[in-house]
Symmetry: C2
Subunit: 159 residues, 2 copies
């Protein structure tokens, strides 16, 4: 497995565990404004999915797709969106090669140019950061801590 892909697998595995553990949680907790980070658990999950996909589209030089967070009012629909977009992202990562790292693109919402490799790393750290925020909130709603250890997940395999 290409080394950068293992970090996407890491994020996705943990994201899916969050979906699972949050599915039975009351709506009021999921939408509660927590006055830090993105504001609520649901907003955070939507933000992670939305930002990841926007940057992937930028890497592909394709126009951004805007999602309306009002359409994703429960964990199930959020997960369906996440699963759907993942197909396209996986395809990009499968065809990733080292020489793409320094290719430059400019996203539709910005005038700057970025290395594609820089964008991939941005997507990775972005999700880990927000999952760290969720881990603090999980204590408030009394759900178990989801392991964020990279080690032990068997994510790095020889090609």
């Amino acid at each position: 497995m290409f080394s950068i892909e293992s970090l996407f697998q890491y994020n996705w595995q943990i994201r899916d565990e969050w979906f699972e553990i949050l599915e039975p949680i009351a709506e009021i907790e999921l939408f509660r404004e927590r006055n830090a980070g993105i504001g609520s658990i649901m907003k955070t999950l939507f933000h992670i999915i939305d930002v990841e996909y926007s940057w992937i589209r930028a890497i592909k030089n394709e126009p951004d797709v805007t999602f309306d967070c009002e359409e994703y009012k429960d964990i199930k629909s959020m997960r369906t969106l996440s699963d759907k977009l993942r197909i396209e992202i996986k395809e990009l990562l499968t065809n990733w090669s080292m020489d793409m790292e320094y290719e430059m693109v400019t996203p539709g919402w910005d005038d700057d140019f970025y290395f594609k490799g820089e964008i991939l790393r941005h997507i990775i750290v972005h999700e880990i950061h927000h999952i760290g925020q969720l881990s603090i909130w999980s204590k408030e709603i009394g759900i178990p801590v989801i392991s964020t250890s990279f080690i032990g997940k068997k994510l790095l395999q020889r090609n």
Copy 2:
């Protein structure tokens, strides 16, 4: 810059910004038990530094060094420790090569074997996760949010 190194640079840059912003903060806030994550801001910072170094020692097949958190009672001493250990870590990363990714080591505190590349990724995600937790607490103590964007930090440069 080797791609994995850019993620260490990312973490270190943000860690140093945290040291800077936390230096004038009252001790009572830094040590306050926050009932989530590692417990307090100081414990979190110590944990990040301690875990990073322990795994780096494991990669080097050298014995772990135990630090006593009681000796690091302010941001200044914490930063001095962080700076000191970074020299050795930088040296390892400078000499990193792709063929080291799948070399196996076993840390002194564990019976399992791990790929060196797996350990490097573990260290990276570990810090990002805990910094995400700090970002929630920063709101409680009223300090500005430190940007955790990878993009815009010019971390990825052609070799």
